[in-house]
């Protein structure tokens, strides 16, 4: 059993879902983020947030995967200030919903003043609703941005245990762990971590508070990055209980602090039923036979 605690499945196909389930992924977390194309209207955010708690959650369930999400205004789009203000008004509608396990991804991109302002506002929101925070650390000037994210979080009085600092690398991991934060690692070809580097990090730092994810999205990325990294760890002689911590348990412990994520959600899940429909849309297209597990194989309609 694996958890991928950071994946943007709105960009992925049903083939990916099937492969993920087959590879042993039981639960995923989809952080609210940007979509490549910048949004220009608050309504686009509203429908995106609704998708995260609605259609995408339903779609994942059709493949036997429990879907959670985080809600937040990403740092890139925080730079459109008038729009960002409107998104901030929208967030209270979503942060309290079932299955919202953190405020995120928030933090810095270019480390501008606007980014700083909305990062701080959302830290306060997280405190108000008692949710963990998922921090996106910048691609450029990463080390400084990461340290600044933690400094500001502490300035607002957040407990490092409630904060997951994501997209770490060899340069940031030590300080993040030393200061008591959860350290996320994204296995993402080209721009972030590779599986081999990940193995070395777990060897060096041990499994405590380290969380592996794929961050698979619309870029060249791999929705199976978590199980594949676990396999490589096995081959490299990392003990099974360490592998379990970094590919399952630590994510559950960290995001479970929301009170919105429980192992029973997938251990006691209702049987898979692709005949269910939502908003008039089935995930199946004409002619495909729905897959139904459990007591009933008879499909009406």
């Amino acid at each position: 059993m694996y958890i991928d605690p950071h994946i943007h499945v709105v960009s992925r196909t049903t083939d990916d879902y099937e492969a993920m389930r087959k590879a042993g992924i039981v639960a995923i977390i989809e952080p609210a983020f940007w979509l490549g194309q910048p949004r220009t209207e608050v309504g686009s955010f509203k429908d995106y947030f609704s998708t995260l708690v609605g259609w995408e959650r339903f779609r994942a369930s059709q493949f036997g995967i429990v879907h959670y999400c985080t809600m937040g205004l990403n740092s890139k789009e925080a730079n459109n200030e008038p729009l960002a203000e409107e998104v901030m008004e929208l967030l209270p509608l979503y942060v309290g919903k079932e299955g919202v396990v953190a405020i995120g991804e928030i933090g810095y991109d270019d480390q501008t003043e606007a980014e700083d302002k909305f990062y701080r506002l959302q830290l306060e929101l997280a405190k108000e609703v008692d949710l963990p925070v998922l921090i996106h650390t910048p691609h450029r000037d990463k080390r400084k941005g990461t340290i600044r994210s933690m400094d500001v979080s502490e300035e607002h009085g957040l407990d490092p245990q409630m904060v997951i600092v994501d997209h770490n690398n060899e340069e940031t991991v030590k300080e993040v762990l030393d200061r008591g934060y959860y350290a996320g690692f994204t296995i993402y070809p080209h721009t972030k971590m590779g599986s081999e580097r990940m193995v070395e990090i777990v060897k060096q730092y041990g499994p405590e508070r380290i969380i592996v994810n794929s961050a698979a999205d619309w870029g060249i990325s791999d929705p199976l990055a978590v199980p594949k990294t676990a396999d490589l760890m096995r081959k490299s002689g990392i003990p099974e209980d360490h592998i379990k911590l970094v590919t399952y348990q630590n994510a559950l412990t960290a995001f479970g602090q929301s009170g919105q994520m429980d192992e029973q959600d997938w251990l006691n899940a209702a049987p898979l039923d692709q005949t269910k429909k939502m908003s008039g849309n089935s995930v199946l297209r004409g002619g495909q036979t729905p897959r139904v597990e459990g007591p009933s194989d008879i499909v009406e309609n």
């Binding site: 929208l90 209270p92 509608l93 942060v95 309290g96 309609n301």
Partner: protein, 293 residues
Amino acid sequence: MQDQVSNFLIQLLQAGNNSKGLNWLEKQTQKISSEPVPAKLFLAFSQASRFFKKEKLELSVKQLEQADQLCSGFEPNFWDELQTARAVLLLSYKAEKETWFKTVNQLFETADMYEHQALFAALPVLPFQEDLIPRAIDGLRTNISLVFDAIALNNPFPAKYFPEANWNQMILKAIFMQRPLYKVQGLEERRNPDLAAIARDFAHERWAAGRDVMPEIWRLVAPFVDEMFMSDLQKALESQDELQMKAVLLALRESAYGPAEKQLEQFPELVAKLDMEAKAWKSIGEEFQQTRV
């Protein structure tokens, strides 16, 4: 009216022995009514799931009567604690039309599945009923049965307010989704020739595809049986499916169509069984739903 319903719902929640939840609810309703900014309602409405579970309410006979007195056809005995708490929150928001709609529209547009259930089931006790008709009609476009049921079943709102075309669409969709028709309030009273014809077309489509129709469909046909419907009912009688046959016989018995009498005489045992059942349509509907599980 809003306060009365709200107090009644709180009284129903008290049976759940959830003092933590009730304290939270009291605090939230105070905040919502004293500070009429939507953010308080938005936060409380979504966070209600942290304080109330989806446990069904249990009503005494007296409480069932009270519910009906407060609002004719109101059936909170089909509600759970979470949606009841959400209805209380909603009722504590000041009913000033323009701001009320602005806020409540936001709730509808951003709701998840269970929030939709709470909102739609609460329609009969909300203010500005007639202005909510388009919202209810739009809500029926869902194919999540939980949400569809909240509008269509055990809810007096559609029968009271829907224009005939929308009412017929709702019933047809309920048939299509195989929802229990006996739980639709006002089903008998609002039967009409158009709906009977729609039901007939639907049966033909199903038969053409080599499928059965749900037996409750014949209830819609009963008052309008004529030569044309008779041939369909005869076809259904030949199905050898007891539930289907019972439904047809019930429809025939209700109809004023002369030749129906002859048909009934051919199935004395089944007709006798129907006489034993005080609520025959309900029992047919229940039995049919059981075949689906």
